[in-house]
């Protein structure tokens, strides 16, 4: 079965695209899916380090595009899972080293042999983003419940729609339940009201993410951490399962997302 190509983007930097790409890739891999994670952040690559695969890079995306190696040679296999690969970005070039058309060609080359191709987009709205969105069948927009992030997410959603990609879904990251309770953080309904796209999932703020990146072991590999569980749920939803949102608060705060709760 041909892969779904999903680009993870945000507009705003630092909201958790790379962490999300790494963890969703791992979570899908743990469910037996064949996954390639593609780092489209040329010049500032980080997907390799977050996944803990930085020492195994021989070739990268730019080598593939410039014909110095075959696609398979650049793919780093994550030995922790049966069929999870990383296609790393180059660190010594910049976003102009690859064109959107070349990104489409590379991803189409991956499509027949995998179930999911997840493309980690750089921040911004310039060529790096355009490279990343070009091959996408669908997009995931990552935001946090903060003014700047939501503002940028609104803009990027508009741009994705203009690129005629449908089915864009939202991932609200770094949610702090305690701050929402104190009314010092936008809540889920606030963000959904403004951005008004389908919610894919919410991920709580979790110190364990930093520890996981320190160790190069994506949190989704463990089963205990809250953020890890959230990413697993997101993977399950991508596979079509109806998974209720992790409990943050009394149900009354989530009137808009009741459909995510299992029949109860």
């Amino acid at each position: 079965m041909a892969a779904r190509i999903i680009t993870i983007t945000s507009g705003k930097g630092g909201v958790g695209k790379t962490t999300a790409t790494a963890n969703i890739s791992v979570a899908l891999g743990m469910r037996g899916q064949r996954v390639v994670a593609v780092d489209a952040d040329i010049g500032l690559r980080n997907l390799d380090v977050v996944m803990g695969l930085e020492n195994r890079i021989v070739y990268d995306l730019v080598d593939v595009v410039e014909g110095r190696c075959r696609l398979r040679q650049a793919m780093v296999r994550d030995k922790r899972l049966p069929e999870l690969y990383l296609l790393p970005a180059a660190q010594t070039r910049d976003k102009t080293a690859v064109t959107p058309e070349q990104m489409v060609e590379v991803c189409e080359g991956l499509r027949p042999d995998f179930d999911f191709v997840l493309v980690d987009s750089p921040a911004g709205i310039e060529q790096g983003y355009r490279n990343a969105i070009a091959p996408a069948d669908e997009a995931i927009v990552v935001t946090t419940p903060e003014v700047s992030a939501v503002r940028d997410a609104d803009r990027i959603i508009g741009m994705i729609e203009a690129a005629e990609k449908e089915g864009t879904r939202l991932l609200i990251n770094r949610v702090r339940i305690d701050m929402i309770r104190r009314e010092d953080m936008l809540n889920i309904d606030d963000v959904l009201d403004i951005l008004a796209i389908e919610l894919l999932g919410i991920v709580p703020e979790d110190e364990e993410i930093i520890v996981a990146t320190n160790r190069g072991r994506p949190l989704a590999l463990e089963n205990h951490a809250r953020a890890g569980e959230a990413f697993s749920n997101i993977a399950r939803r991508l596979l079509g399962e109806d998974v209720p949102l992790i409990t943050l608060e009394k149900p009354s705060l989530f009137s808009r997302v009741k459909r995510f709760f299992a029949a109860s």
Binding site: V147, V150, R151, D154, R155, I157, E183, D184, D190, D193
Partner: protein, 90 residues
């Protein structure tokens, strides 16, 4: 989503309330290029145009810009004066 609506009795608005209000306004500006100055001009001119034809209660006029469900809107809520309250010839 008027600012006054989110005041709770004798409690100042939470930072979340302020954030939501600011975000709405900034998104209206981002998407429509309507500056805060132009917002005020639009409000003044709407009031002037309506009151040229129909008496209105200026004190109770509520004109606001909102951004919700990815749409920017100008909402005008203008109470019209009933006939019995109208003063002498316009």
């Amino acid at each position: 989503m008027r600012f006054l609506q989110v005041f709770r009795k004798s409690k100042s608005p939470s930072s979340r309330d302020v954030a939501k209000e600011r975000l709405q306004l900034v998104l209206v500006h981002d998407r429509t290029q309507i500056s805060p100055a132009l917002m005020q001009i639009l409000k003044d001119e709407i009031i002037a145009v309506i009151s040229k034809h129909v008496p209105i209660d200026r004190e109770a006029v509520d004109i606001s810009f909102t951004h919700s469900r990815r749409e920017s809107r100008l909402q005008a809520n203008i109470p019209l004066q009933p006939r019995s309250r109208q003063r002498a010839a316009r």
